[in-house]
Amino acid sequence: MMAYIARRLLYAIPILIGVNLITFVLFFMVNSPDDMARAQLGAKQTTPEMIASWKAERGYDKPLFFNAEAPGLVKFSDTLFVEQSLKLFVFDFGKSDAGRDIGADISERMWPSLQIALPTFAIGLITTITLALLIVLFRGTALDTGAMVIAVMIMSISGLFYIIAGQVLFSKILHWVPISGYESGWDGIKFVILPVLIGVFAGLGAGTRWYRSIFLEEINRDYVRTARAKGLSEMQVLFKHVLRNGMLPILTGVVVVIPGLFMGSLIMESFFGIPGLGSYMIDAINAQDFAIVKAMVFFGAVLYIVGLILTDISYTLFDPRVRLS
């Protein structure tokens, strides 16, 4: 098991290098360090010396991929790309182009993101699975058809609509919760409720449909027939046997996203004014702050790979037939 995880972590390295390469190429294709320095220093009267010192301060003064002046293999290693990537691998995100410490920013903004994302995920998962099982219980009836039509309709409405309609209804008309904002601790719960509820509702359609199809596939298996033959009630069959066996395909899709919850939701956070990682990214994109975008891309990629590994591990926990080697 440990050997397997260690090997998976080794596999992750080339992937992370690839991720870095992509972001690196994308940004420096149009934005050479000189352009960045000029943009950050302001357009007026930038002397070559100022640019040089700005670049030296942030370590942008090396060549991009190939250092012709250095000897031997160092030609490749003493470059901006290697320098910047190596730092990321030890999670040293460095300073943003505007001069703030990215590592500190990320660890500070992670918690507000999590406060929204985690309840949305947990409540959403439980409600959709329960709903799907209930619909499966009534399969083939008008209730099933009706529920599926509603599910498709929920899926077809833009997520932005839910957010805007929710804000207007609950905050502007009913005045139940504040329209946006954030506070840490338990006082902040009034800010969290609405985004969580909207997030859960928006995911209801797609989730229910997906779980329903998984459960429907299970329901025709032999063990279900055996369970019924034993005289178990339909509820018992569903919630004990079908649910457990359906967990495996559900896990594949669900566990991957758990680490990603740290990243927060771009749109939710910017609509509700939550100082999480999602709004951090939007700000960085708008300010064209390469250092932050690069750090966030790397962070996201690491979380995704962790999610993949967790998926494999969770298989061994839920399905004794699976052995990792």
């Binding site: 080339p14 992937i15 690839g18 991720v19 992509i22 972001t23 994308l26 940004f27 294709m29 149009v30 934005n31 498709v152 309709m153 899926m155 077809s156 409405i157 833009s158 997520g159 932005l160 609509f161 805007i164 804000q167 207007v168 502007k172 596939e217 990603g260 990243m263 771009l266 749109i267 990214m281 939007i282 994109i285 708008n286 064209q288 975008v293 966030m296 891309v297 996201g300 990629a301 995704y304 790979i305």
Partner: protein, 455 residues
């Protein structure tokens, strides 16, 4: 560009009609009433998009004979011509649907020199009315007239179609019509006709009343929201269709070769899609779009007109979306190809020395087509919705381009206004909802018919 697409679709349709099995599958799809009506709705959207894609530059008026014809800098599409009057009926600022006065108050001095806050009357809405009281009655009359007219047109077109069907079936018009009314035709033509008339009637109503009122209100600078919503159809449809077209060959080629050739090819392709997948999607798109925007704004000399630039922006966006979204389908195709290449008839074909390409063409492609089709229709609706989100983040289509995302984005800033400006938002959402709902329902049916698991 988009016309090439139509030709390709036509060719595809022709090949389908030649193969009896595939044809039977399609007929099975359309046997469902829901699939039939959603297909008709999709067709309506598609034809609006097509009308809007036929653009040209109008010749400028007042030209002296003998000179080379001068063209205006703005391109106009057929849809623009159809909506010419509605397009030009701009007001000063916001007004609610069917309103006769502006939404916000303005301060004016009356004759006595007193400063007053009043809602100024609109210049184009209801200008034919004598008094504001006559409005409701007028709307009712005009609506009845519009509905009647559209109903007549739809009836005429439907009877033409019945005539054609009757000719094919070699029965009289009345017999065919009787079958339709009783719902005894093989394909649910009754539902189809009903959907068609309903769609045509609502279009006709919106269009005719649009000449007298701002049916869906006006936006900040007084533009008609109805016209904007219709213009946005093209953007949404183009993004949905073109992106899948960019993504499809990539996913097909890479997915099938990974599954078939295995070894290092498989390793490289797997590495590629894991890498792309591990970058948070929206960040990747945002970064690429920002890069492209910088390039485009640094080279203004590449484009002749603003429309052309907006179109190029759209194409680039489509390219980026395509390049970032092929991974999911690729993985599915790889897994399926792995499975199929183990099947006996493929092994047999290989033993006989059939070339790899022939194996792909004859055995693998037809067997993965259902996955591709389902993925394409599902992606289409996801992309239409994604456009709105991307425009909101600021990395969507050109801000000058009409799109639902831009409409939502602009209207969002007015949320705090009292009383609220809701009509732009709502019309964008409804136009989007109908399109996505139709696509989703259609894909549902496609899935049910084509997925071998369900048979």
């Amino acid at each position: 560009m988009i016309w090439l697409l139509v030709v390709a679709l036509g060719l595809w349709g022709w090949t389908i009609s030649r193969s009896p099995q595939v044809k039977a599958q399609w007929i099975a799809i359309f046997r469902s009433k829901i699939a039939m009506s959603s297909a008709i709705i999709l067709l309506f959207y598609l034809s609006i998009a097509l009308l809007d894609s036929l653009h040209f530059r109008l010749a400028l008026p007042n030209q002296t004979a003998g000179q080379a014809v001068q063209y205006s800098g703005q391109t106009t599409s057929v849809l623009d011509l159809v909506f010419n009057e509605i397009r030009n009926q701009t007001e000063r600022t916001y007004s609610a649907p069917f309103a006769l006065k502006e939404h916000s108050t303005s301060i004016i001095k009356d004759e006595a020199g007193l400063v007053q806050q009043v809602h100024l009357p609109l210049t184009h809405a209801g200008s034919h009315l004598d008094s504001a009281q006559a409005r409701n009655q007028d709307i009712l009359l005009k609506s009845l007239w519009a509905v009647f007219l559209a109903w007549l047109i739809s009836k005429a077109l439907i009877s033409l179609h019945i005539y054609w069907r009757a000719r094919v079936a070699k029965i009289s018009w009345w017999q065919q019509a009787g079958l339709v009314v009783k719902g005894q035709t093989d394909l649910p033509w009754r539902t189809a006709y009903l959907t068609f008339s309903l769609a045509l009637i609502s279009l006709g109503w919106l269009y005719l009343l649009g000449h007298y009122y701002h049916v869906l209100g006006t936006d900040k600078v007084g533009g008609d929201v109805l016209y904007q919503s219709f213009k946005s159809v093209r953007t949404g449809v183009l993004i949905g269709v073109l992106t899948t077209l960019v993504m499809l060959p990539l996913a097909l080629i890479l997915g099938i070769s990974a599954g078939l050739f295995r070894g290092w090819v498989d390793d490289v392709i797997q590495y590629l899609y894991t890498t792309l997948n591990s970058i948070p999607g929206i960040l990747l798109i945002a970064a690429s779009v920002l890069v492209m925007q910088t390039i485009i704004s640094n080279h203004p000399e590449w484009f002749e007109t603003a429309t052309e630039r907006a179109d190029i922006c759209l194409l680039v966006l489509v390219l980026i979306l395509g390049l970032t979204s092929w991974t999911g389908l690729c993985r599915l195709l790889r897994a399926e190809t792995l499975k199929i290449s183990q099947v006996e008839y493929v092994t047999a074909a290989r033993a006989f020395g059939v070339s790899r390409f022939k194996i792909i063409g004859r055995h693998i492609l037809p067997n993965v087509m259902h996955i591709v089709l389902i993925a394409v229709v599902l992606d289409f609706s996801a992309l239409v919705l994604a456009e709105a989100v991307l425009s909101y983040v600021g990395v969507g289509v050109d801000p000058t381009m009409h799109s639902w995302g831009n409409m939502i984005n602009q209207a969002r800033l007015e949320m705090a206004r009292e009383p609220m400006v809701w009509w732009s938002l709502l019309s964008a959402f409804i136009f989007m909802f109908i399109l996505v709902l139709a696509a989703n329902l259609f894909s549902d049916r496609v899935q049910r018919v084509l997925d071998p698991k369900n048979n």
